[in-house]
Protein backbone atom coordinates (compact mmCIF):
# COMPACT_ATOMS: atom_id res chain seq x y z
CA UNK A 1 0.00 0.00 0.00
CA UNK A 2 2.90 2.36 0.85
CA UNK A 3 4.32 1.70 -2.59
CA UNK A 4 1.00 2.54 -4.20
CA UNK A 5 0.77 5.85 -2.33
CA UNK A 6 4.39 6.61 -3.29
CA UNK A 7 3.75 6.02 -7.02
CA UNK A 8 0.47 7.95 -6.81
CA UNK A 9 2.22 10.99 -5.36
CA UNK A 10 4.94 10.79 -8.06
CA UNK A 11 2.28 10.69 -10.77
CA UNK A 12 0.37 13.66 -9.33
CA UNK A 13 3.63 15.64 -9.20
CA UNK A 14 4.28 14.77 -12.83
CA UNK A 15 0.86 15.73 -14.17
CA UNK A 16 0.54 18.92 -12.18
CA UNK A 17 3.77 20.24 -13.72
CA UNK A 18 1.65 21.57 -16.55
CA UNK A 19 3.40 22.38 -19.82
CA UNK A 20 2.55 25.18 -22.19
CA UNK A 21 1.89 24.46 -25.86
CA UNK A 22 3.96 27.03 -27.67
CA UNK A 23 4.41 27.71 -31.36
CA UNK A 24 7.24 25.83 -32.96
CA UNK A 25 8.76 25.77 -36.39
CA UNK A 26 9.72 22.18 -37.25
CA UNK A 27 12.43 23.09 -39.76
CA UNK A 28 14.51 24.64 -36.96
CA UNK A 29 14.99 21.19 -35.47
CA UNK A 30 15.03 18.92 -38.44
CA UNK A 31 17.41 21.01 -40.48
CA UNK A 32 15.15 20.77 -43.52
CA UNK A 33 15.78 23.53 -46.02
CA UNK A 34 12.21 24.13 -47.19
CA UNK A 35 9.59 26.10 -45.32
CA UNK A 36 7.31 24.31 -42.92
CA UNK A 37 3.98 25.72 -41.94
CA UNK A 38 2.54 24.61 -38.67
CA UNK A 39 -0.99 23.25 -39.21
CA UNK A 40 -2.21 25.47 -36.38
CA UNK A 41 -0.88 28.57 -38.09
CA UNK A 42 -3.51 31.00 -39.31
CA UNK A 43 -3.06 31.82 -43.00
CA UNK A 44 -6.40 32.37 -44.65
CA UNK A 45 -5.63 34.85 -47.43
CA UNK A 46 -7.11 33.76 -50.78
CA UNK A 47 -4.16 33.01 -53.03
CA UNK A 48 -5.78 30.37 -55.24
CA UNK A 49 -4.18 31.75 -58.37
CA UNK A 50 -0.73 31.35 -56.79
CA UNK A 51 -1.05 27.61 -56.14
CA UNK A 52 1.10 25.91 -58.72
CA UNK A 53 0.92 22.29 -57.64
CA UNK A 54 -0.18 20.04 -54.78
CA UNK A 55 1.54 16.76 -53.95
CA UNK A 56 -0.30 14.20 -51.83
CA UNK A 57 2.18 11.57 -50.71
CA UNK A 58 1.67 8.45 -48.65
CA UNK A 59 5.02 7.39 -47.18
CA UNK A 60 5.34 3.85 -45.86
CA UNK A 61 7.82 1.07 -45.16
CA UNK A 62 8.03 -2.34 -46.81
CA UNK A 63 6.04 -3.94 -43.97
CA UNK A 64 2.83 -1.99 -43.57
CA UNK A 65 0.27 -2.18 -40.78
CA UNK A 66 -3.46 -2.35 -41.60
CA UNK A 67 -4.04 1.31 -40.68
CA UNK A 68 -0.97 2.36 -42.70
CA UNK A 69 -2.35 0.69 -45.84
CA UNK A 70 -5.79 2.19 -45.21
CA UNK A 71 -4.43 5.74 -44.82
CA UNK A 72 -2.74 5.41 -48.23
CA UNK A 73 -5.68 3.70 -49.96
CA UNK A 74 -8.23 6.27 -48.75
CA UNK A 75 -5.95 9.17 -49.70
CA UNK A 76 -5.57 7.76 -53.21
CA UNK A 77 -9.33 7.25 -53.43
CA UNK A 78 -9.95 10.86 -52.32
CA UNK A 79 -7.67 12.21 -55.04
CA UNK A 80 -9.07 9.88 -57.72
CA UNK A 81 -12.68 10.61 -56.75
CA UNK A 82 -12.64 14.39 -56.44
CA UNK A 83 -9.66 15.66 -58.40
CA UNK A 84 -9.48 13.75 -61.70
CA UNK A 85 -9.23 16.96 -63.70
CA UNK A 86 -6.36 18.27 -61.59
CA UNK A 87 -4.59 14.90 -61.79
CA UNK A 88 -4.84 14.99 -65.59
CA UNK A 89 -3.52 18.54 -65.75
CA UNK A 90 -0.70 17.69 -63.33
CA UNK A 91 -1.74 20.35 -60.81
CA UNK A 92 -2.26 17.59 -58.25
CA UNK A 93 -0.29 14.36 -57.87
CA UNK A 94 -0.61 11.35 -55.65
CA UNK A 95 2.28 9.02 -54.84
CA UNK A 96 2.78 6.04 -52.58
CA UNK A 97 6.43 6.03 -51.57
CA UNK A 98 8.35 3.22 -49.90
CA UNK A 99 10.89 4.99 -47.68
CA UNK A 100 13.06 1.88 -47.44
CA UNK A 101 13.98 2.00 -51.12
CA UNK A 102 17.25 3.90 -51.79
CA UNK A 103 15.76 5.82 -54.73
CA UNK A 104 13.17 7.41 -52.39
CA UNK A 105 15.65 8.55 -49.75
CA UNK A 106 15.92 12.12 -51.03
CA UNK A 107 12.16 12.61 -51.10
CA UNK A 108 11.84 11.21 -47.56
CA UNK A 109 14.53 13.65 -46.39
CA UNK A 110 12.86 16.55 -48.22
CA UNK A 111 9.62 15.91 -46.35
CA UNK A 112 11.30 14.94 -43.05
CA UNK A 113 9.36 11.69 -42.88
CA UNK A 114 9.72 9.62 -39.70
CA UNK A 115 7.59 6.63 -40.69
CA UNK A 116 4.28 5.75 -42.26
CA UNK A 117 2.52 9.05 -42.87
CA UNK A 118 0.41 11.21 -45.17
CA UNK A 119 1.94 14.46 -46.36
CA UNK A 120 0.64 17.33 -48.43
CA UNK A 121 3.16 19.45 -50.29
CA UNK A 122 1.93 22.76 -51.68
CA UNK A 123 3.89 24.76 -54.23
CA UNK A 124 2.63 28.30 -53.92
CA UNK A 125 4.03 31.56 -55.20
CA UNK A 126 7.42 29.97 -55.83
CA UNK A 127 7.61 28.48 -52.34
CA UNK A 128 7.18 24.97 -51.07
CA UNK A 129 5.14 24.20 -47.96
CA UNK A 130 4.85 20.73 -46.49
CA UNK A 131 2.61 19.39 -43.76
CA UNK A 132 2.06 16.01 -42.21
CA UNK A 133 -1.61 15.29 -41.64
CA UNK A 134 -2.05 13.15 -38.52
CA UNK A 135 -5.84 13.61 -38.26
CA UNK A 136 -6.40 11.05 -41.02
CA UNK A 137 -5.24 8.31 -38.63
CA UNK A 138 -8.35 8.88 -36.53
CA UNK A 139 -10.56 8.35 -39.59
CA UNK A 140 -9.32 5.01 -40.94
CA UNK A 141 -12.43 3.25 -39.63
CA UNK A 142 -14.81 5.55 -41.52
CA UNK A 143 -14.10 5.88 -45.24
CA UNK A 144 -16.74 8.57 -45.92
CA UNK A 145 -15.49 10.70 -43.04
CA UNK A 146 -11.90 10.27 -44.22
CA UNK A 147 -12.67 11.21 -47.84
CA UNK A 148 -14.72 14.26 -46.90
CA UNK A 149 -12.15 15.43 -44.38
CA UNK A 150 -9.19 15.12 -46.78
CA UNK A 151 -11.22 16.76 -49.58
CA UNK A 152 -11.86 19.69 -47.23
CA UNK A 153 -8.13 20.03 -46.50
CA UNK A 154 -7.15 19.77 -50.19
CA UNK A 155 -9.83 22.28 -51.24
CA UNK A 156 -8.36 24.76 -48.77
CA UNK A 157 -4.84 24.21 -50.06
CA UNK A 158 -6.05 24.66 -53.65
CA UNK A 159 -7.62 27.95 -52.60
CA UNK A 160 -4.27 29.03 -51.23
CA UNK A 161 -5.38 28.65 -47.64
CA UNK A 162 -2.54 27.03 -45.71
CA UNK A 163 -4.19 27.21 -42.28
Amino acid sequence: MKWFIFFGVIFIIIITGCTKNTEFSEDCVEGVTCNVLDVNQSFSVDRSSDVEKIEVIHFHGTNQCFSCRTVGAFAEKTVNTYYTGLLDSGKMTFASINTELPENKDLAIKYGVSGSSLWIGTYINGEFHKEENVNVWYKVNDEDDYLLYLKGVLDKRLAGDLS
Partner: protein
Protein backbone atom coordinates in the same frame (compact mmCIF):
# COMPACT_ATOMS: atom_id res chain seq x y z
CA UNK B 1 -19.92 11.16 -30.99
CA UNK B 2 -17.90 8.06 -31.86
CA UNK B 3 -14.94 6.83 -29.87
CA UNK B 4 -12.42 7.78 -32.57
CA UNK B 5 -13.90 11.27 -32.90
CA UNK B 6 -13.53 11.66 -29.14
CA UNK B 7 -9.94 10.35 -29.27
CA UNK B 8 -9.18 12.79 -32.09
CA UNK B 9 -10.51 15.77 -30.14
CA UNK B 10 -8.58 14.76 -27.02
CA UNK B 11 -5.45 13.69 -28.93
CA UNK B 12 -5.27 17.05 -30.69
CA UNK B 13 -6.05 19.08 -27.57
CA UNK B 14 -4.15 22.34 -27.07
CA UNK B 15 -3.26 21.18 -23.56
CA UNK B 16 -0.13 19.14 -24.22
CA UNK B 17 -0.46 16.66 -21.35
CA UNK B 18 -4.12 15.92 -22.21
CA UNK B 19 -3.17 15.26 -25.84
CA UNK B 20 -0.18 13.14 -24.72
CA UNK B 21 -2.38 11.04 -22.45
CA UNK B 22 -4.89 10.24 -25.19
CA UNK B 23 -2.21 9.56 -27.82
CA UNK B 24 -0.76 7.17 -25.23
CA UNK B 25 -4.12 5.44 -24.83
CA UNK B 26 -4.36 5.05 -28.62
CA UNK B 27 -0.86 3.56 -28.57
CA UNK B 28 -1.73 1.14 -25.76
CA UNK B 29 -4.56 -0.27 -27.85
CA UNK B 30 -2.68 -0.49 -31.16
CA UNK B 31 -1.53 -4.01 -32.19
CA UNK B 32 2.15 -4.08 -31.20
CA UNK B 33 1.98 -2.30 -27.84
CA UNK B 34 -1.14 -4.34 -27.08
CA UNK B 35 0.86 -7.53 -27.63
CA UNK B 36 3.70 -6.30 -25.43
CA UNK B 37 1.21 -5.19 -22.76
CA UNK B 38 -0.42 -8.62 -22.74
CA UNK B 39 3.04 -10.09 -22.19
CA UNK B 40 3.65 -7.61 -19.37
CA UNK B 41 0.29 -8.42 -17.77
CA UNK B 42 1.26 -12.08 -17.84
CA UNK B 43 4.59 -11.17 -16.27
CA UNK B 44 3.00 -9.17 -13.44
CA UNK B 45 0.75 -12.09 -12.62
CA UNK B 46 3.67 -14.49 -12.15
CA UNK B 47 3.41 -14.26 -8.37
CA UNK B 48 -0.26 -13.57 -8.18
CA UNK B 49 -0.63 -14.51 -4.51
CA UNK B 50 1.49 -11.49 -3.57
CA UNK B 51 -0.68 -8.44 -4.28
CA UNK B 52 2.02 -5.92 -3.34
CA UNK B 53 4.48 -7.58 -5.70
CA UNK B 54 2.01 -7.61 -8.61
CA UNK B 55 1.26 -3.89 -8.25
CA UNK B 56 4.91 -2.89 -7.92
CA UNK B 57 5.84 -4.94 -10.97
CA UNK B 58 3.00 -3.28 -12.96
CA UNK B 59 4.18 0.19 -12.01
CA UNK B 60 7.86 -0.61 -12.62
CA UNK B 61 7.00 -1.87 -16.10
CA UNK B 62 5.31 1.49 -16.78
CA UNK B 63 8.35 3.34 -15.38
CA UNK B 64 10.52 1.31 -17.76
CA UNK B 65 8.41 2.54 -20.69
CA UNK B 66 8.60 6.06 -19.28
CA UNK B 67 12.42 5.83 -19.19
CA UNK B 68 12.67 4.85 -22.87
CA UNK B 69 10.16 7.38 -24.19
CA UNK B 70 11.69 10.19 -22.16
CA UNK B 71 15.17 9.22 -23.35
CA UNK B 72 14.13 9.29 -27.02
CA UNK B 73 12.23 12.56 -26.58
CA UNK B 74 15.24 14.12 -24.81
CA UNK B 75 17.56 13.13 -27.65
CA UNK B 76 15.24 14.87 -30.11
CA UNK B 77 13.98 17.88 -28.12
CA UNK B 78 17.07 18.77 -26.08
CA UNK B 79 19.95 17.34 -28.11
CA UNK B 80 18.52 18.05 -31.56
CA UNK B 81 18.85 14.54 -32.97
CA UNK B 82 16.84 13.92 -36.12
CA UNK B 83 13.42 12.35 -35.54
CA UNK B 84 13.81 10.64 -38.89
CA UNK B 85 17.11 8.93 -37.98
CA UNK B 86 15.92 7.65 -34.60
CA UNK B 87 12.53 6.59 -35.92
CA UNK B 88 13.89 4.59 -38.85
CA UNK B 89 16.58 3.00 -36.67
CA UNK B 90 14.11 1.85 -34.00
CA UNK B 91 11.54 0.68 -36.53
CA UNK B 92 14.23 -1.33 -38.31
CA UNK B 93 15.95 -2.94 -35.33
CA UNK B 94 13.47 -2.72 -32.41
CA UNK B 95 10.90 -4.97 -34.02
CA UNK B 96 13.55 -7.42 -35.28
CA UNK B 97 15.13 -7.89 -31.86
CA UNK B 98 11.93 -8.12 -29.84
CA UNK B 99 10.60 -11.42 -31.25
CA UNK B 100 13.74 -13.49 -30.65
CA UNK B 101 14.20 -11.83 -27.24
CA UNK B 102 10.68 -12.78 -26.10
CA UNK B 103 11.21 -16.28 -27.42
CA UNK B 104 14.40 -16.67 -25.38
CA UNK B 105 12.80 -15.20 -22.22
CA UNK B 106 9.82 -17.56 -22.63
CA UNK B 107 12.12 -20.57 -22.99
CA UNK B 108 14.06 -19.39 -19.95
CA UNK B 109 10.84 -19.18 -17.92
CA UNK B 110 9.81 -22.65 -18.96
CA UNK B 111 13.23 -23.98 -17.93
CA UNK B 112 14.43 -24.89 -21.42
CA UNK B 113 17.40 -22.52 -20.97
CA UNK B 114 19.28 -22.16 -17.70
CA UNK B 115 21.42 -19.12 -16.87
CA UNK B 116 24.01 -18.77 -14.13
CA UNK B 117 24.76 -15.06 -14.43
CA UNK B 118 23.75 -14.24 -10.88
CA UNK B 119 25.88 -16.79 -9.07
CA UNK B 120 28.57 -14.31 -8.00
CA UNK B 121 29.38 -13.57 -4.38
CA UNK B 122 29.91 -9.81 -4.50
CA UNK B 123 27.41 -7.39 -2.95
CA UNK B 124 26.31 -6.11 -6.35
CA UNK B 125 25.62 -9.60 -7.59
CA UNK B 126 23.61 -10.37 -4.46
CA UNK B 127 21.53 -7.25 -5.03
CA UNK B 128 21.03 -8.21 -8.67
CA UNK B 129 19.99 -11.68 -7.57
CA UNK B 130 17.51 -10.28 -5.07
CA UNK B 131 15.98 -7.89 -7.62
CA UNK B 132 15.91 -10.53 -10.33
CA UNK B 133 14.20 -13.03 -8.06
CA UNK B 134 11.52 -10.54 -7.19
CA UNK B 135 11.13 -9.62 -10.83
CA UNK B 136 11.53 -5.89 -10.15
CA UNK B 137 14.54 -5.44 -12.39
CA UNK B 138 12.94 -7.67 -15.02
CA UNK B 139 9.71 -5.69 -15.09
CA UNK B 140 11.55 -2.37 -15.44
CA UNK B 141 13.76 -3.74 -18.22
CA UNK B 142 10.74 -5.28 -19.90
CA UNK B 143 9.15 -1.81 -20.02
CA UNK B 144 12.37 -0.28 -21.39
CA UNK B 145 12.72 -2.89 -24.15
CA UNK B 146 9.02 -3.07 -25.08
CA UNK B 147 8.82 0.70 -25.46
CA UNK B 148 11.72 0.63 -27.93
CA UNK B 149 10.01 -1.90 -30.20
CA UNK B 150 8.19 0.35 -32.64
CA UNK B 151 5.79 -1.07 -35.17
CA UNK B 152 4.64 1.15 -38.07
CA UNK B 153 1.48 2.34 -36.30
CA UNK B 154 3.02 2.92 -32.88
CA UNK B 155 5.80 4.86 -34.66
CA UNK B 156 3.14 7.09 -36.25
CA UNK B 157 1.66 7.83 -32.84
CA UNK B 158 4.98 8.45 -31.12
CA UNK B 159 7.09 10.13 -33.80
CA UNK B 160 4.22 11.66 -35.81
CA UNK B 161 2.02 12.90 -32.98
CA UNK B 162 3.79 12.87 -29.61
CA UNK B 163 7.23 14.15 -30.63
CA UNK B 164 5.80 17.22 -32.48
CA UNK B 165 3.74 17.86 -29.35
CA UNK B 166 6.85 17.63 -27.14
CA UNK B 167 8.73 19.90 -29.55
CA UNK B 168 5.97 22.51 -29.51
CA UNK B 169 5.87 22.38 -25.72
CA UNK B 170 9.69 22.36 -25.59
CA UNK B 171 9.39 19.55 -23.07
CA UNK B 172 11.02 16.13 -23.16
CA UNK B 173 10.08 15.03 -19.67
CA UNK B 174 6.46 15.57 -18.70
CA UNK B 175 4.77 15.09 -22.08
CA UNK B 176 6.54 11.75 -22.83
CA UNK B 177 6.02 10.62 -19.21
CA UNK B 178 2.27 11.20 -19.40
CA UNK B 179 2.24 9.40 -22.76
CA UNK B 180 4.20 6.48 -21.26
CA UNK B 181 1.87 6.28 -18.27
CA UNK B 182 -1.10 5.98 -20.65
CA UNK B 183 0.62 3.26 -22.69
CA UNK B 184 1.24 1.27 -19.50
CA UNK B 185 -2.20 1.97 -18.04
CA UNK B 186 -3.77 -1.33 -19.22
CA UNK B 187 -1.03 -3.21 -17.38
CA UNK B 188 -1.65 -1.26 -14.17
CA UNK B 189 -5.44 -1.71 -14.45
CA UNK B 190 -5.10 -5.43 -15.10
CA UNK B 191 -2.65 -5.71 -12.22
CA UNK B 192 -5.36 -4.30 -9.94
CA UNK B 193 -7.95 -6.67 -11.36
CA UNK B 194 -5.59 -9.61 -10.97
CA UNK B 195 -4.67 -8.65 -7.44
CA UNK B 196 -8.22 -8.27 -6.22
CA UNK B 197 -9.74 -11.01 -8.33
CA UNK B 198 -7.55 -13.97 -9.11
CA UNK B 199 -5.52 -13.86 -5.89
CA UNK B 200 -8.69 -14.01 -3.81
CA UNK B 201 -9.95 -16.89 -5.90
CA UNK B 202 -6.72 -18.80 -5.43
CA UNK B 203 -6.82 -18.14 -1.67
CA UNK B 204 -10.44 -19.26 -1.45
CA UNK B 205 -9.56 -22.43 -3.29
CA UNK B 206 -6.52 -22.75 -1.01
CA UNK B 207 -4.35 -23.65 -3.98
CA UNK B 208 -1.89 -20.75 -4.04
CA UNK B 209 1.16 -22.92 -4.80
CA UNK B 210 -0.60 -24.65 -7.67
CA UNK B 211 -1.78 -21.29 -9.10
CA UNK B 212 1.76 -19.90 -8.96
CA UNK B 213 3.25 -22.95 -10.63
CA UNK B 214 0.78 -22.86 -13.51
CA UNK B 215 0.95 -19.08 -13.80
CA UNK B 216 4.73 -19.28 -14.41
CA UNK B 217 4.21 -21.87 -17.14
CA UNK B 218 1.42 -19.85 -18.78
CA UNK B 219 3.60 -16.72 -18.70
CA UNK B 220 6.42 -18.61 -20.42
CA UNK B 221 4.05 -19.83 -23.12
CA UNK B 222 2.64 -16.29 -23.62
CA UNK B 223 6.18 -14.92 -24.06
CA UNK B 224 6.93 -17.58 -26.68
CA UNK B 225 3.64 -16.99 -28.54
CA UNK B 226 4.08 -13.20 -28.62
CA UNK B 227 7.72 -13.73 -29.66
CA UNK B 228 6.53 -15.87 -32.57
CA UNK B 229 3.96 -13.17 -33.45
CA UNK B 230 6.71 -10.55 -33.66
CA UNK B 231 8.99 -12.82 -35.68
CA UNK B 232 6.08 -13.52 -38.09
CA UNK B 233 5.71 -9.76 -38.70
CA UNK B 234 9.16 -9.75 -40.28
CA UNK B 235 8.15 -12.11 -43.07
Amino acid sequence: MGLMAFMEIMGTSNIAIVAAFFIGLMTALSPCPLATNITAIAYTSKRIHNSKHTLIVGFLYTFGRMFSYTLIASLIVWFGLSTQTISFFLQKYGERLLGPLLLIIGMFMLGFIKLSFFKGSSGLNKLKEKLAKRGYLGSFLLGVVFALAFCPFSAVLFFGMLIPLALRAGDALIVPSVFAFATGLPVIIFSFILVYGVSKLSSILNKVQLFDKWMRRIVGVIFILIGIYYISLLF
